[in-house]
């Protein structure tokens, strides 16, 4: 196992290095440079432009710049943003990432919680009307033009019903003299969600000893419910309640949009992998033994079919940056996606490269996690 992880790490390092090189070359190939934007003011003398170029590290040979960039990345320094000069790229990512992370984590989890059982259900009801209806609906949401979905949601919930604000992540008048930074709230929210996720997966191990499936399921649900109540209580009693609520309230529409889009994908994948598993011999055996359908479905089939779904889910998390571009723009949610879009449009190369590099690292790490998960969970695979 250790050897496997090590060899994967080496491969990842090579891929990552190639990735960095491609990112660098890509941005080198972009015509012009950031200082061109300053050309729009004729009163700026050429010397000032030269000085700026030097300050931004835009002079020197391509090779020097490349070495500089790679060295920077490996020392955990993503450079200084042009737009926000002299703020560090890493500092900007630190500010924006939690906003995106909470949004997508919650949405993906809800989508998973919806898509998994639905996929399981329709696979079992293969060929019936309910299968077609749910499948077609799932595909429709999966292929819907994201801006269109956002427009419809904003129209219904913000404009017509007036339940939610049409953008942003907080109400300014509430946050004039807050006891806490929104930054912190986002981080704590991420922690809460991850904690609940941990509690949920931990509950499987905790309830292992309970013999009967029904009380076991109830205990599990109870545990999760307890966690949710505990978290809510903790937030409320900390006096941060209104502030957290403000942010959660603002999150609702974007979360709904991402959920609707990704639940279809999860569901379809779950359905297909279920159908594949159903054909496996051991399922036939289980059925032949006369086990009830529900047991075969939930205990035998679903567990195996879960693997590709989880894999997809995990790797998908790595792409929140690009996935966020559309959603975050539509809902004015200033996270990583919008940051990247702006950086590219404004030719703020370090920031754009920083976002891409960060995504690359994240995806690679998640790939590793998936590999390890596979090795641990799938009895058919051993290393």
């Amino acid at each position: 196992m250790l050897r496997f992880i090590l060899s994967r790490l080496v491969q990842i390092a090579i891929t990552f290095f190639l990735f960095l090189t491609v990112v660098f070359l890509l941005f080198q190939a972009m015509p012009g440079d950031y200082t061109k934007q300053f050309i729009m003011n004729p009163k700026i003398p050429p010397e000032a432009r030269k000085a700026l170029q030097e300050r931004l590290g835009l002079t020197g040979s391509v090779w020097d710049q490349y070495i500089h960039y790679v060295r920077n990345v490996f020392t955990g320094n993503l450079g200084v943003s042009f737009q926000h000069y002299p703020r560090e790229v890493w500092d900007i990512i630190k500010e924006r990432l939690p906003r995106t992370a909470v949004l997508f984590l919650v949405a993906e989890l809800v989508a998973f919680a919806l898509g998994y059982p639905l996929g399981k259900y329709i696979a079992w009801r293969r060929g019936r009307t309910s299968d077609y209806v749910v499948t077609v609906t799932g595909i429709l949401f999966y292929t819907i033009f994201t801006p269109l979905l956002a427009i419809i949601l904003l129209f219904v919930f913000s404009n017509a019903l007036g339940w939610f604000r049409s953008g942003g992540f907080l109400t300014p008048s509430l946050w004039l003299r807050p006891p806490v930074q929104p930054q912190t709230v986002f981080l704590l929210l991420t922690a809460t969600v991850l904690g609940l996720l941990g509690l949920w997966s931990g509950s499987f191990f905790l309830t292992k000893r309970i013999g009967h499936p029904r009380p076991r399921a109830w205990t599990r649900r109870g545990l999760v419910l307890f966690g949710v109540i505990l978290a809510t209580w903790a937030w409320w009693s900390s006096g941060l309640g209104p502030y957290v609520w403000d942010i959660v309230w603002h999150m609702f529409l974007p979360v709904l949009a991402v959920t609707l889009i990704s639940f279809g994908g999860t569901m379809l994948l779950m359905r297909d992998s279920m159908l594949e598993v159903i054909r496996e011999d051991y399922i036939t055996t289980a059925k032949a033994k006369g086990l009830p359908d529900k047991v075969v479905r939930d205990k035998h089939a679903a567990r195996t079919a879960l693997l590709p779904t989880v894999t997809n889910f995990t790797i998908g998390l790595g792409f929140i940056v690009s996935g966020g571009i559309v959603t975050e723009t539509m809902f004015s949610w200033k996270g990583m996606g919008l940051t990247y879009l702006e950086a590219v449009l404004q030719q703020d190369f370090p920031l754009a490269m920083g976002c891409l590099t960060f995504t690359g690292i994240l995806v690679l790490l998640l790939h590793l996690v998936v590999d390890v998960l596979y090795a641990l969970l799938d009895p058919r695979i051993s290393y």
Binding site: L26, T135, L148, I151, N159, L268, V321, I325, L341
Partner: protein, 315 residues
């Protein structure tokens, strides 16, 4: 050896055709049975009809000065644009007086061209590389797999946003870039896996023993056997390409004169998008068209899936 005089050999192509028709019939039945596949096909047909109808309408009923999708302008409604649907303009006009229906129909052609070209390139590259990797393995395989890993590390839309300032992206180039990028991406891994299952079949061994060259075996045995899967992926890739173009156009990042994405962008940048129901004809038709075309190709893909992948079939 006796010569069989009088017995007429059936020509090879006829046998092939017959076999093809037979398998086509069988597959078509399976496709039909999937129920969702035909729905998709139906929607695509409607779009094809729209595409064909546009030049005919322009040549007969629609006066080009008024109905040209890019340069058209209806002077009779001066000061009233964007005008709501009327008899002259069944889907209304856009903020600068162009007919929405004409734009919608005209753009269908470019969407098809883009989607199909891009998907075709992807599938050709993916199939070739998948087959080659599976057959040769070793270094060749390792190189292409690393390339695939690398390509998959890039968020697609994010990457195109950068590329569009490196390459002047018109419709054809966009199709090319998207096709090539996805061709070297994840599809090679999937198709290679499929090709590997073919490679171990006895007839490949037989062909090798018979002295078939690598090229011959890949061309005549491996590729035909992964073709159905490639075809299936092609459908999904059309969805991907159309969607990506629409998103980039919506952000105003492409150098295309007209497309469904541009139509929504025009409404948005002129400030009509947020009025929702008040100016619905500006965003609903193109939005629905993008969604439906993506949806349709995806449905066809799913339908084909049941043909290609026996496990998904009805028991």
């Amino acid at each position: 050896m006796t010569t069989q005089v009088g017995t007429r050999f059936e020509p090879l192509w006829k046998i092939r055709l017959r076999l093809f028709l037979k398998s086509f019939q069988k597959n078509w039945a399976l496709f039909w049975e999937s129920r969702i596949g035909p729905i998709g096909l139906g929607i695509i047909l409607v779009f094809v009809l729209m595409m064909i109808a546009h030049p005919i309408l322009m040549a007969t009923v629609w006066e080009p000065r008024v109905y040209d999708p890019i340069m058209g302008f209806d002077p009779t409604l001066l000061g009233k644009h964007p005008a709501p649907p009327s008899r002259a303009h069944p889907l209304g006009t856009d903020p600068i007086g162009r007919d929405i229906l004409s734009q919608l129909m005209w753009s269908t052609r470019s969407e098809f061209a883009l989607g199909v070209t891009s998907a075709l390139i992807t599938v050709v590259i993916g199939t070739l590389i998948g087959a080659i990797c599976a057959y040769f393995g070793g270094v060749v395989d390792a190189i292409f797999m690393r390339i695939a890993d690398l390509v998959m590390l890039f968020p697609f839309i994010a990457l195109l946003m950068v590329l569009r300032s490196v390459v002047h992206l018109d419709l054809l180039r966009l199709a090319l870039v998207m096709g090539i990028l996805s061709g070297f991406g994840g599809i090679t891994i999937t198709l290679k896996a499929q090709a590997l299952t073919v490679k171990v079949k006895p007839y490949i061994e037989a062909a090798k023993v018979a002295g078939g060259s690598a090229f011959h075996i890949i061309r005549r045995h491996i590729i035909p056997n992964i073709m159905p899967l490639s075809f299936l992926y092609m459908m999904f890739n059309v969805t991907g390409a159309v969607f990506t173009e629409a998103v980039l156009s919506y952000f105003g990042l492409l150098d295309i004169r007209m497309s469904w994405g541009i139509m929504i962008h025009t409404a948005a940048s002129a400030g009509y998008l947020g009025a929702f129901s008040q100016y619905w004809w500006l965003w609903a038709p193109p939005g629905a068209a993008i969604t439906l075309l993506c949806f349709a190709f995806y449905l066809v893909g799913r339908g084909l899936d049941t043909v290609v992948n026996p496990r998904l079939r009805k028991r």
